[in-house]
Amino acid sequence: MNDPVFGPTPTAPADEGELVQLLTPEGERVHHPEFDLELTPEMLRTFYRDMFLVRRLDVEATALQRHGELGLWAQLLGQEAAQVGAGHALARQDFVFPTYREHGVAWVRGVDPVSLLGLFRGVDNGGWDPHAHGFNLYTIVIGAQVLHAAGYAMALQRDGVVGTGDGDRDAAVLAHFGDGASSQGDVNEAFIFAAWANAPVVFFCQNNQWAISEPIEKVSRIPLYQRANGFGFPGVRVDGNDVLASYAVTQAALKRAREGQGPTLIEAYTYRMGAHTTTDDPTRYRLMEDVEHWKLKDPLARVEVHLRRNGLADDDFFAELSAEADALGERMRRECHLLPDPQPLSIFDRVYAEQTAELAAQQAEVATYLSSFADHAGAGAEGGAA
């Protein structure tokens, strides 16, 4: 509908035509006027290796869930390139706010895959130290972390580590969220605060086309990256299945942020190949053809073709990587079992930094109560694993 007064009404998100791509699904390097990139073969292999191991991590965790070792798992299958590319663009001093699906970024930030499992196994709400890795705990309430990211970026400004010109000091924040999350008030308020403060934060939206069963094209009538236009900062759409493009664009946006030029919105256009989580049944709402279509754009395959065709990695590389992945899988299976179940009385610990007399009393009461059973039942402590 082209209204003479108000102009055209967009009706559906534009297609993939306009996205930044540096490596085609067929494995061809293409040039881009703004985001061109020189990469050493070693870097390319590292990207591939990380994607390969992350995919294994994901497959392994999915299997652990099937075997009853995890209560749930949120798969990233298909989103490896977006995440590994973005993760490699980070500087050590940057800080990341993930959703519950950023296993690929976690991997690049050095979070042990086994500690990612704790949340899904139900032994904790995230077992790693956010500060040690510059990587926050997973956030489950959709969109909440995007505000935290904006606030953390405001703190960086106040710490004087933005725009100093010292590349080892200047820092930025990477805020993850999904296409569905873009509807939440919190996400839009984060855009407001970041623009207002000119805060060093890169909003990284993985548009995997689905929010559980809801397709993004029904919710947004224009490409999501254009949302940034409404808030006065740049937005760019990148081929989320192209690790080079994800890396290049995120790197440029983070650099901009660290230099004090403010926020950017990146929409990584990708596809959730798996289910939403292991409890979801996507056959109820999407067509197998779509999945097949996206298989042709696999983020790993194109890098493998590129590496092989250009002689940048030999058979040994792939064989070693495969063995490394097997070892990772084996370790995950083994160590998942060893994750200790929390002790009943521990639920009263660390509710507060300064424990309250009230809660300490409740804990003591429970201790007495539990010990009354121990007396009856003998000392048989039950292990947590099957």
Binding site: G71, L72, Y100, G118, L119, F120, R121, G122, V123, D124, N125, I140, V141, I142, G180, A181, S183, Q184, G185, D186, A211, I212, S213, E214, K218, V219, T279, D280, R284, Y285, D341, P342, Q343, P344, L345, S346, I347, F348, V351, E358, L359, Q362, V366, Y369, F373, G384
Partner: protein, 327 residues
């Protein structure tokens, strides 16, 4: 058919369907309620049969869902909003307590706000954070809202229809862990009792157990065990949390002299506090022990592998009964 055996999930689905058939103004809104039928399948098949205009897969924004439902209710619709999990109702909290709850009184009755906000609530399903909360006290504390909780398929079927027919906003709490745990016969030609009444579900005379939603089953189980030990416990299902209907409870407590309130919400300022305070006022001279409370501890809902330590169970209920008798 008039009589069918159903799980609570199916009963809710059937109740919703019937309400939609009977009143074209009833619309369903929420995340994934359409094609998927909701993550718990409570709205299964409704979009297919009633269309996308009446069963809406909304954008992912709870304040937006409830806020637009307010606008629809103003124009005469009766929105039934699904909140996907208890822990995700909070983005809509402002719209619920400042708008949904207040429209009727603000407008001196000119703008009623018939709306049902369905919330699968409570724990015990081994879920991750935010999926096992019991937020009922916060809503019951808010004048203008009505709050109910069903505990079995038959109530689920009728109470949902009654809540939809009510001209006031109703927070409708569904004990998600019992969606499929039991089945019951539903006679859709029966005439249900009033929505705003609590009900004795197991008679007894030694002490009164008071539960709602997921803990009614726990109380009944506890009463069965106690019976074996020769102690006859009466169990009352509150059903309506706001307004409270304490008449049957008082009648019971005057006979038993002892009362224990059981819920999954944190003990501190949970429903049990109100029930205890009121019962003590109305039954002061009948009580042989203080009203005791068994609930979730005053900690965040813990990780799934330790949720048993948090949740009130049969043993904790019986322990409270013992403590009551020890007074």
């Amino acid at each position: 058919m008039t009589t069918t055996t159903m799980s609570m999930a199916k009963a809710l689905n059937a109740g919703l369907r019937r309400a939609m058939e009977e009143d074209p103004k009833v619309v369903v809104m929420g995340e994934d309620v359409g094609r998927l039928g909701g993550v718990f399948r409570i709205t299964d098949g409704l979009q297919k049969d009633f269309g996308e205009d009446r069963v809406m897969d909304t954008p992912l924004a709870e304040s937006g869902i409830v806020g637009t439902a307010v606008g629809m209710a103003m124009r005469g619709y009766r929105p039934v909003v699904e909140i996907q999990f208890d822990g995700f109702v909070y983005p809509a909290y402002d719209q619920i307590v400042c708008q949904v709850a207040k429209f009727h009184s603000r407008s001196q009755g000119r703008v009623p706000m018939p709306m049902v906000i369905r919330i699968p609530f409570g724990g015990g399903i081994g879920a991750v954070e935010h999926h096992s909360e019991s937020p009922e006290a916060q809503f019951a504390h808010t004048p203008g809202l009505k709050v109910v909780a069903c505990s079995n398929p038959v109530d689920a079927y009728w109470m949902l229809q009654q809540a939809i027919a009510c001209d006031d906003p109703v927070i409708f709490l569904e004990p998600k862990r019992h969606y499929h745990s039991t089945r019951a016969e539903i006679d859709d030609a029966a005439s249900p009792g009033p929505l705003w009444e609590s009900r004795v579900v197991r008679p007894g005379d030694a002490a009164t157990l008071i539960g709602y939603g997921p803990t009614v089953g726990t109380c009944v189980d506890a009463a069965a065990v106690a019976a074996e030990e020769g102690r006859s416990l009466e169990v009352i299902d509150l059903r309506t949390l706001s307004p409270l209907d304490l008449g049957p409870v008082e009648e019971s407590v005057r006979r038993t002299g002892r009362a224990i309130v059981v819920h999954e919400a944190h003990v501190n300022l949970g429903l049990g506090a109100e029930v205890a305070a009121r019962l003590t006022e109305t039954c002061f001279y009948s009580l042989e022990a203080p009203v005791l409370r068994v609930g979730g501890w005053d900690t965040p809902y813990p990780p799934a592998r330790v949720e048993e330590a948090y949740l009130p169970d049969l043993d904790r209920v019986l322990d409270a009964v013992d403590r009551s008798f020890a007074f």
